[in-house]
């Protein structure tokens, strides 16, 4: 009886595993075909952030705004990116992609020592507190005046507009707006906007 119960459990578990496996599709994001074939959603998703980031970086580079004519690389600080949508999204999803690509371009480095609400990486300042420690070899403790001030600041806004279509259904318009400011002059040296338009049902409020 016990053996029979055991076999039944195995069959049941196996069936459950097969059934649950059938409903899941793992998308390989490195495969462009699989990525393009992903189901569409009205909310903001991976591909939208990727598209907006790619476009912004390409435009920034081709405009020459991030090319330091005196040589070397510009230091960029990330300013406020306002989420003006109806969805709880992490704006870092967009910014991380932009940062990574700019860094890879070799034209820009991003500072972690400065941010609107303090240093993005608090360890920059924390490590400087080791100056007082007799336990720490002071040779490679950061000296005063070594933090590099940023040259450029990147700020932006993600906007959402939900619209009813005349013949049923809804349209959601997203706008990724970014501004690159020269911190020395205060002038906006590059601005870009990537609209992402989706039509379907159930425009996201949540």
């Amino acid at each position: 009886m016990k053996a029979f119960t055991g076999i039944k459990s195995i069959i049941f578990a196996g069936t459950a595993l097969m059934v649950s496996g059938c409903g899941t599709t793992v998308v390989d994001l490195d495969n462009p075909e699989e990525k393009a074939a992903m189901s569409n959603v009205m909310a903001l998703e991976y591909r939208d952030f990727e598209k907006a980031a790619n476009k912004a970086v390409q435009e920034m580079i081709s405009s020459g705004a991030v090319t330091n004519r005196s040589g070397g690389r510009y230091v960029l600080v990330i300013s406020r990116i306002t989420n003006d949508t109806m969805q709880k999204i992490d704006t870092d999803q967009l910014i991380k992609k932009i940062r990574t690509q700019l860094l890879q371009s070799g034209k820009v480095v991003v500072t972690s020592a400065v941010g609107l609400d303090g240093a993005e990486d608090p360890m920059v300042m924390k490590a400087r507190q080791l100056r007082k420690s007799k336990e720490v070899n002071q040779a490679n403790v950061a000296k005063k005046g070594t933090i590099v001030a940023p040259d450029l600041s990147l700020s932006g806004k993600i906007i959402q507009r939900n619209l009813d279509l005349d013949f049923g259904g809804e349209r959601v318009e997203y706008y990724f707006q970014l501004t690159l400011t020269d911190l020395t002059t205060g002038l906006a040296i590059w601005e870009g906007e990537t609209p992402i338009i989706k039509e379907g049902r159930k425009a996201p409020i949540w």
């Binding site: 406020r80 989420n83 003006d84 949508t85 969805q87 709880k88 806004k157 409020i205 949540w206």
Partner: protein
């Protein structure tokens, strides 16, 4: 026969839920009115532990009315994180309900006909979903999450924009279902039902016609909070334009409110970049949620129904009727340092919003109730006629009495009205609140930042719940 008895017994048992709902509502209100908010949350949520800062409510599977009442009780108890969770859950549920009712095939309305409306889950009013937006904006500010508050401002805008369309769909669906049920009645009873409907409205509901709220289910409180948020948290010129637009709309709804007019001027000067030194001035806004909103009471009526041809019988049933809410105080006095005391002014008449929406819904509610009552009376008569041992008749009679009850549920922890006042913060950070000339609270507010003071007083003498939020 056996099947009928079992079926009716099950319905009988479930109909008892309506009585339990009423008891729970009465228990909740009794403690909430006194300002015992943690106790009130315990009535709604089954425990008072969510009042504690280290607790975390997981609202999955909670009833909507419990999360709305429990959410506002926790908000007044200043348990903002849990209150926010409950309101976010409520808002999502309301949204799903509204989207579903736009697609539903009348299934919900058919349940009303068979039993009574209070047997199934609470059907939210349009104003519930919109008002939830006010608590979500305030809750995020109270938690210091300004980015979260911005999302709620956007959601609240969308909700108000969609309100009329959602209402039209709901009423259309319910009207169609009620008409379908009325069609099941014979010709004489159909005619009688229509006449009964006219007579009841003319005789018992004329006094409610005086209640007029704001166009398209707009809630000036939510609109105002949205404007106030953008005025204080602009991320660019566009936000000041939007703040000005929100203030303009609010002023259109409450044109006599001087605070709103001053805020509109301020927003317009910011939007036109003409504010100059005004931007350096610091302000404190006081929003006062005053009293308790209108509730629904049962109105017992007898209507004539043809059980057999040419013979009218009087059948008892009950329908909901709003009873006006009560204020705690006509207004609050607010003073800061040596400045002249100012009075809070009406920003939103919540009673009017509730009763005017009820008025719009009532013809369908009544039509459904009459169809259901007539249908059940005929069913009862037929069972009695063919019942040999009397058991079926007895069960049917009790069932009819219990299911002819009106659905009296509503979000009852809302205030009767909301008022607002604004003061400039100069040298003092000590804000005093007065009710009928007597000081009722003294609060420290930030001197170097704009802030909002939330005040809730459900009835005269109740201890005010006061929270300071940075804007």
């Amino acid at each position: 026969m056996k099947k009928t008895v079992i079926g009716l017994s099950v319905l009988l048992l479930t109909s008892a839920c309506g009585s339990l709902d009423r008891q729970k509502a009465a228990d909740f209100r009794a403690v909430y009115e006194k300002g015992e908010y943690c106790q009130a949350s315990a009535v709604s949520l089954g425990t008072s532990e969510y009042c504690q800062k280290d607790s975390q409510v997981t609202p999955d599977d909670m009833e909507l009315l419990d999360t709305l009442n429990g959410g506002s009780a926790l908000f007044a108890a200043k348990a903002f994180a849990n209150s926010d969770r409950l309101f976010a859950y409520s808002a999502k549920n309301i949204d799903e309900y509204e989207k579903a009712s736009m697609l539903e095939d009348g299934g919900r309305a058919a349940v009303d006909i068979l039993a009574n409306a209070s047997l199934h889950g609470y059907s939210p009013y349009i104003m519930d979903g919109i008002y939830t937006g006010a608590y979500l904006i305030l809750g995020n500010l109270a938690l210091g999450d300004k980015a979260g508050a911005r999302i709620e401002v956007n959601r609240a805008y969308q909700k108000q924009k969609e309100a009329s369309e959602v209402f039209r769909s709901e009423i259309k669906e319910q009207s169609e279902a009620a008409a379908k049920e009325t069609q099941k009645l014979d010709k004489d009873n159909r005619k009688k039902a229509a006449k009964n409907e006219e007579e009841i409205i003319a005789k018992h509901y004329q006094d409610l016609k005086k209640w007029r709220a704001y166009k398209d289910f707009m809630n000036p409180y939510v609109t105002y909070l949205s404007g106030l948020y953008l005025l204080n948290n602009s991320s660019g010129a566009g936000d000041y334009e939007n703040a000005s637009m929100y203030m303009k709309r609010t002023a259109g709804m409450v044109p006599k409110n001087r605070t709103v007019l001053k805020d509109l001027q301020l927003a317009e000067s910011y939007a036109g970049n003409k504010a100059g030194d005004a931007k350096k001035r610091r302000h404190v806004w006081v929003v006062f949620e005053n009293g308790m909103v209108a509730t629904l009471e049962a109105l017992s009526l007898n209507i004539p129904v043809f059980l057999v041809s040419n013979e009218l019988s009087m059948i008892a049933f009950s329908v909901p009727k709003p009873k006006e809410g009560k204020i705690a105080y006509p207004s609050l006095g607010v003073s800061l340092g040596g400045q002249k005391q100012v009075k809070t002014e009406l920003l939103a008449d919540v009673d009017a919003m509730f009763i005017s929406e009820f008025n719009k819904r009532f013809p369908v509610i009544l039509s459904k109730a009459i169809a259901a009552t007539t249908f059940k009376a005929i069913m009862q008569y037929q069972i009695q006629k063919n019942d040999t041992n009397g058991v079926g008749s007895l069960i049917m009679a009790i069932y009819t009495i219990m299911t002819n009850q009106a659905d009296l549920r509503s979000w009852q922890s809302l205030p009767k009205n909301v008022q607002v006042a604004r003061l400039e913060v100069k040298d003092s950070g000590k804000l005093k609140l007065f009710a009928k000339g007597k000081e009722i609270a003294k609060i420290n507010i930030p001197k170097d930042k704009n802030s909002l003071v939330y005040v809730r007083i459900p009835e005269p003498g109740a201890k005010p719940s006061v929270a300071v939020m940075e804007l």
